[in-house]
Amino acid sequence: MLKLLNLSIAAIVLLSLPGVAASNEYLGDKECYACHKDIKKLYLGNLHGKIFTNNPGTSLEKKGCEACHGAGSAHKDGADRADKGESVPLAVEFPLKKGPEFTLENNKLCLTCHEKGSQAHWKGSQHEMADVSCVDCHTIHTEEKIDGTDACTGCHEQKRAQMQRSSHIPLREGKVTCSSCHNPHGSMGPTLLRQASTNENCYSCHAEKRGPLIWEHAPVRENCGNCHNPHGSNLNSLLVMRPPYLCESCHAMSFHPSTIYDGNTLAARDKHQVGKACLNCHPMVHGSNHPSGARNSR
């Protein structure tokens, strides 16, 4: 509350200063570059600067720096007066304020332009509802693009650890990124997936699993995640449990599928445990297209 009061007083003081907030006009980028030489180089090197200066598509983009920062004349006047030794706060509608309480306000500015394409479903997304700020992941005045994985693992620590597990997709090698599967800006799929379902996401790279097949394995058709953890596993093939136990989770049938396999059977090199375990004989766990493939062995 005290903070709110302080801010209110500061705002009233600013507005009451003659020549500071009374009129504020757009000046153009050159006026900004005159003082902000370091920012100029970075700005012109990134996509914002390149589009705003070369091919602005909207009236807002034509305003350059002031598209985001607002009209700059009041700021410049304040700076000029400060240079003359006057004690004047630099008034500028600098939009990005620090702190979670300003997330909504800061994001609004970005969404002015970025609420289309892959950002069209930002509103209502898990990240938006969690008050994630655009600048939590993106830096504006830089030529460097964000690392699509590092930006995520800052908050998703458990996924960062899973990436380091023995069985993994090439996330830590940088050959895929989190955003290969997820759209952090919102999606209409589950868990921010780019596709409408987990399986459709997996089929993007594993089209051979798409089928459909004459002998479907129902849990596989419904959700690859029933058996695999795509973020990394201590078990081969990203599995959530080691065969034969994984298979026995569902196939408690008479004879070998319901047998308890332990250290004794392992010592005898039981064919249900060694090598590929159940998949020694039932390799078509993703379904079979063979007329004799009813038991996923063909």
Partner: protein
């Protein structure tokens, strides 16, 4: 590190350096080019080391990365190349005009090393595998390896993806844009697949075969978007075709029958069939008011597969074969997806989001009776004996979630949510499940140096309409209960024990919560503590998964004491605990033994599986001499242990726990960069990695030694390794 391994790269690097002159770097390009040489030294060849870059043995390699841009009046060309000297290289060219159009062409490769195999089969990589000339069938592998004609060859199990794509996008005015894209991926190589002979579980033998991989995937995408003041509309089309050059794998059978029906000379297994997927998507958003937005996505897709069917068997002794019910698969699944999202921020303090999702699959493949021949062995089944109907499984999901956030103050917020999901399935033991979800959360910036967040979620999944094994059994089997073998008088027909609830169908109570605390003891330092807990309680499943629990905590520290130094360190501890309940029963003995045993609770067993993982990361970036010399150092330690303990009820013999599955990896990377001139950086890097694993499924097994009597293995364990890497490079800035 062997000296000879670094001499060649060093010489190559010096040659490259001598070729460089500032004049050569001049031009209109902006960006950088990195060239150099690297060498890897391994104490033992291991595919695990080069799993995704192909470096599995001592090797020298060229280092090349390019990142260049050429611009003129808004026109641009961006050139990018990464890891040119490795099997995971990529190249990209973007050209266009900022804010107007872009043409993006890309080529990338990705290798995946899977192992080293030893096999007697000749013809690995193709779709016909032959045994050495004169080799006779034997009932066990230990007999095979002493056959005078036994010979083996080593093969690399690996796949390589090569993908080329081209995409063109254009803005039309300030409201419209369109995009066209085409990509083609070729995936080639060899992996392993099991090939079984034998008609019953007791009398089966399997050969692990080299499976040929020769895939082609072509994707065409097209889309047009309208962006207006208050929303957007986008229509997109996708056509994806998959082609496998190998329809089936035929192999010469090395096994003689250990019992039961005679084994054939040859056997055949199907491989992934060609398929096609088309999807039409409509996506739209509309701002209903300044603070309320409605989003819609509607998609209709069609998955089709019509590969010509293989014969029931290639065993020529089984004749005459009944005709196939149709010549080709005629398989089709149609997918409909509709999502509606209504989100509103009526005030700055309140956010509300309501989401409805409908995802429906309709399997249009005919339910068909196939008179199978079990694993090319024995006789062909008929309606009264062992034939099965295909089950065209499909499902649909309807879910509604409502979430709300209330910001008590600017720095403190609470959230709550409710969700309901209804899943309908055909050809499953439970045709409908319902799940209710409840969410609560609180986050607050308690002071300028402390923020905290707590989240809790509960989800209750229940079966609606009962769990029915019998209907599924009757839909699958061609015959009734005439034999008595499959009849269970108390609960009807069943294959799967009636007390088991399959993992994805079972009733489950899920409780999960997370706590996160961020501390900022200094402006330059952040400390984060996070804890996550999830417990899945399958309390209504007598058999199957009983519990699945996860405890995970992480400590994170980052610090930037000066602009010349940053440090990070983290530690994550994950403990996963799963409990599985089973019931051992057979059909052996007098009629009815199966049912007696299935009802006998003293035949139960339990498996407790604990998955422990420690992950440590430490790193720093340091700059000296006003940034002229920089050093980056990173260390990763990842260690996992999976314990499997077993318990039994009184009728089963005392079990012995399984040995632990273990993996351990330590990785160090050090890179120093010295800015020789404004436009030239020299770099030196050193990497170290040590990997160890224990895996009871493969440890101590040699595919060439006949270690497992009824499995002809192809691979053993991934060898442990210790690797050193050095690299020298220079980066030329344009």
């Amino acid at each position: 590190m062997k000296i000879k391994n670094i001499i060649a790269p060093a010489i190559a690097f010096i040659c490259l350096l001598s070729l460089y002159s500032p004049a050569a770097a001049a031009g209109g390009f902006d960006g950088s080019v990195t060239i150099g040489a690297g060498a890897t030294d391994l104490d033992e060849k291991s595919h695990k080391k080069g799993e995704y870059d192909g470096v599995k043995d001592d090797a020298s390699r060229f280092i090349g990365d390019v990142n260049l841009s050429l611009e003129n009046d808004g026109d641009y060309i961006d050139l990018k190349a990464e890891d040119i000297g490795l099997d995971d290289r990529s190249f990209s060219i973007k050209l266009g005009n900022y804010g107007s159009y872009q043409l993006h062409m890309e080529y990338s490769e990705l290798t995946h090393l899977l192992g080293e195999g030893i096999t007697p089969f000749i013809g690995a990589g193709g779709d016909v595998l032959a045994l050495p000339p004169g080799f006779s069938q034997h009932t066990t592998t230990s007999q095979m390896v002493v056959d005078p004609q036994w010979t083996t060859q080593s093969i690399d199990l690996e796949t390589q993806r090569k993908k080329a794509s081209i995409a063109y996008s254009r803005e039309i005015g300030s409201n419209y844009s369109f995009k066209l894209g085409y990509s083609r991926e070729i995936k080639e190589g060899t992996q392993s697949i099991g090939g079984m002979l034998g008609a019953s579980g007791q009398f089966t033998s399997a050969s692990i075969l080299p499976e040929p991989i020769d895939y082609r995937t072509n994707d065409i995408t097209a889309g047009i978007t309208y962006n207006g003041e208050k929303g957007m509309v986008s229509i997109a089309y996708l056509l994806s075709t998959f082609e496998n050059k190998n329809e089936a794998l035929l192999w010469e059978n090395p096994f003689a029958a250990p019992g039961g029906a005679a084994f054939p000379t040859d056997a055949q297994i199907s491989l992934a069939p060609d398929n096609k997927y088309q999807r039409l998507s409509l996506s739209a958003t509309r701002d209903l008011t300044m603070t309320t937005r409605l989003s819609l996505t509607a998609e209709y897709g069609k998955m089709e597969q019509d590969e010509e069917l293989l014969p029931y068997t290639v065993n020529t002794l089984i004749a005459p074969l009944r005709a196939l019910p149709r010549d080709s698969a005629e398989a089709e699944i149609d997918v409909t997806h509709v999502s509606l999202n209504l989100t509103s921020r009526p005030t700055n303090k309140v956010s509300i989001n309501a989401r409805y999702r409908y995802y429906d699959t309709v399997n249009k493949t005919d339910r068909t009776l196939f008179m199978r021949v079990t694993n090319d062995t024995g006789s062909q089944s008929d309606i009264a004996n062992g034939a099965f109907y295909t089950l065209p499984f499909d499902y649909s999901k309807n879910s509604l979630d409502v979430d709300a956030v209330y910001r008590i103050t600017g720095a403190t917020r609470i959230k709550a949510g409710l969700g309901h999901e209804l899943t309908d399935r055909d050809y499953r033991s439970a045709e409908q499940t319902k799940e209710n979800r409840y969410k609560l959360g609180l986050s607050s910036r308690l002071s300028s140096v402390l923020t905290a967040m707590v989240d809790y979620t509960r989800a209750e999944k229940r079966i609606d309409g009962g769990y029915d094994n019998e209907s599924l059994y009757n839909a699958y089997h061609s015959y009734s209960s005439a034999s008595g073998m499959y009849n269970y008088s108390a609960t009807g027909n069943f294959d799967i024990h009636p007390d088991l609830r399959q993992l994805d169908l079972s009733e489950r109570d899920r409780d999960s919560y997370s706590v996160k605390i961020n501390l900022f003891p200094m402006d330059t330092t952040a400390v984060s503590l996070s804890y996550r807990y999830r417990n899945d309680d399958y309390n209504n499943s007598e058999l199957g998964w009983q519990e699945d629990r996860l405890n995970s905590y992480t400590v994170d520290v980052t610090s930037s004491p000066s602009k010349n130094a940053t440090f990070y360190a983290y530690y994550t501890n994950d403990l996963g605990e799963k409990e599985l309940a089973g019931h051992s029963f057979t059909s052996a003995g007098p009629l009815g033994t199966k049912f007696t045993q299935a009802e006998d609770d003293t035949r139960r067993w339990w498996s407790d599986q604990n998955d422990k993982t420690d992950t440590i990361g430490i790193g720093t970036s340091l700059a000296f001499l006003r940034g002229q010399f920089t050093v980056d150092a990173d260390y990763i330690h990842a260690k996992s242990t999976t314990e499997i303990e077993l318990r039994v009820a009184s009728a089963l013999p005392s079990p012995v726990d399984m040995p632990d599955l273990e993996t351990k990896r330590d990785t160090v990377n050090l890179t120093g960069r010295y800015k020789l001139r404004k436009d030239l950086v020299l770099g030196l890097g050193y990497g170290y990695e040590k990997y160890e694993s224990d895996d009871w499924a493969t440890d101590g097994l040699n595919p060439a030694s006949g270690d497992v009597d009824n499995i002809l293995l192809l691979t053993g364990s991934a060898p442990d390794y210790e690797a050193h890497l050095v690299k020298l490079f220079m980066t030329i800035k344009m």
